[in-house]
Amino acid sequence: MTAGSLLEVRDVAKRFGGLAALDGCSLALEAGQVTGLIGPNGAGKSTLLNVMTGLVRADQGSVLFEGRDVTAVSAHRFPTLGMARTFQIVRELGSLTVFENLLLAPRLQTGEGVVASIFSRRKWWAQESGNAQKAKVLLERVGLFQLADHPSGGLSGGQKKLLDLARALLLEPKLILLDEPGAGVAPPLKLEMIRLIRELKAEGVSFGLVEHDMHFVGELCDHVHVMAEGKRLVSGTFDEVSKDRRVVEAYLGVAA
């Protein structure tokens, strides 16, 4: 919990009716690392991710990104700050093609204005062409370019996860939060995903990772936070936390 953390949550609490999804959770994600968030079902991992990205407003506590308080920032402003996310259940924009999904993502598109969409055609078309080049490179990288003009609704579960990640990359973020990137992905694509995340980390992108697949976590994460009952339980490297008695008990449901 040093001053230089990329993303830090401090004492965050969130209740849904009588259920305390988060109950005074504090943890940090360091720059340049892949940080894992693990824990049994109901530990509050996904809620924490939603709080971190502005989709859910915390009842108390604060979220700091690069030292700046982003607790009350709207979800749609996070990409501008340098943070992107993917979703647990892939929510592809099914009626858009794979390529359109990617072209949608880039920030500051002139052509998204009502008047500009008609009268500044030349300007946005130039932006589109630039974005299309980037999109093509990314699609080739994740191996989806041959499907570029297919409706994204028809992709397999794993392909949708790759598309989701590629779309997040077009936002050119410093930090990407992945919600269960390995869930429902076929083993070969899972290896592909691990390879891709490693490559991106080497290029300087930081990751936060909510995941149940321990192989995935062990392969990728530099640092792991274990959550239980809305709080951070243990932190450390994957080997450290997987040997921790409290972690085993949390997963098995024994009172710690």
């Binding site: 749609h76 402003r77 992107a84 009626s95 052509g111 589109e128």
Partner: protein, 306 residues
């Protein structure tokens, strides 16, 4: 017979404008608007009241602007609502407009309506023939609106609206201001509905509250569903076929003698309903598909062979 066909064509033009507007709001952006007729009525009344004072063109612009402002206002109030609740609010809005028009006699002349609305190019109409001039005007108006809305649909603006329709949360996480974009889509649609109302006022030269019943909204939805949600080309086909069916079946009474005219008009509406149901079962995507940008359109020539 020619005069009758021209009348039908002008009615198709009005329906097409309303349909194009709904296709933007509901077809592309996924925002249900059951108060379509209210916005058309506002456009028509604004035109009727202002055209004698300030001329037909400024009146039409004011009609569009007024309807757009009211659309944006309604959207600002209610667009955070989920689909079903937005539907209820817009139904309510349509009813409020109808009741205000009916009861605020000092402004709208109540149930008596407003007569003597001047037509555009009236002087030209007297030399060539009023309806001939008017059909050209109506077609030109539809063409302009179609070109503008189609350009919008194929731009990043149209794409982000379709993304919001598919999943607003994801679109928001991608950094798009979903709320502002929805309000804009609603306002642009409202402007076009206002202009459609203006066209109706110009053509009939007399408007009363009886012209603005919820069936106008229903026809617009039928046209969008038949044409295919999100496709403007489909919408034009849809609007034409709905009108052709409605009007064409009028002549059935000459051939069918077992039931009387009143019964037949009910049967005609029923046939349209059955047609829509069949279309949804057999061709749920509608008559024409949504426009898609192909990757090859965007990439330079040398990359096309990849």
């Amino acid at each position: 017979m020619i005069a009758y066909l021209i009348t039908i064509a002008i009615l198709v033009c009005i329906a097409a404008l309303v349909g194009l507007a709904l296709n933007l709001q509901w077809g592309q952006a996924g925002l249900v608007n059951f108060g379509v007729v209210g916005f058309v009525a506002i456009g028509a009344y604004a035109t009727a009241l202002l055209a004698p004072q300030i001329g037909w063109f400024p009146a039409m612009l004011v009609a569009g602007a007024l309807s757009a402002i009211l659309s944006a206002g309604l959207a600002l109030l209610s667009i955070r609502l989920e689909e079903n609740y937005l539907a209820i609010v817009t139904i309510g809005f349509g009813e409020v407009v109808r009741l205000v028009i009916l009861n605020e006699g000092w402004l709208t002349n109540g149930a008596l309506g407003i007569p003597d609305i001047p037509r555009p190019f009236a002087a030209l109409g007297q030399t060539i023939g009023g309806d001939t001039v008017f059909i050209v005007f109506a077609l030109a108006l539809v063409a302009i609106v179609f070109v503008l809305l189609e350009a919008m649909a194929r731009s990043p603006f149209g794409r982000v609206l379709r993304a919001i329709r598919d999943d607003a949360t994801v679109t928001s996480a991608l950094g798009k201001n979903v709320f502002a974009l929805r309000v804009r889509a609603f306002a642009v649609g409202g402007a076009v509905m206002g202009i459609a109302g203006a066209l109706q006022a110009f053509y009939l030269t007399y408007i009363d509250p009886g012209q603005f019943t919820p069936i106008v909204t229903a026809y617009a939805f039928m046209a969008v569903i038949a044409g295919g949600r999100g496709s403007n080309v489909g919408l034009l086909i849809g609007a034409c076929s709905i009108m052709a069916l409605l009007e064409g079946t009028r002549f059935l009474k000459d051939f069918v003698t077992v039931i009387d005219g009143v019964q037949l008009s009910a049967v005609r509406l029923g046939m349209i309903g059955a047609g829509i149901v069949l279309l949804l079962i057999l061709r749920p995507q509608g008559l024409a598909p949504e426009p898609k940008r192909r990757a090859a359109d965007m990439l330079p020539q040398e990359n096309r062979s990849v």
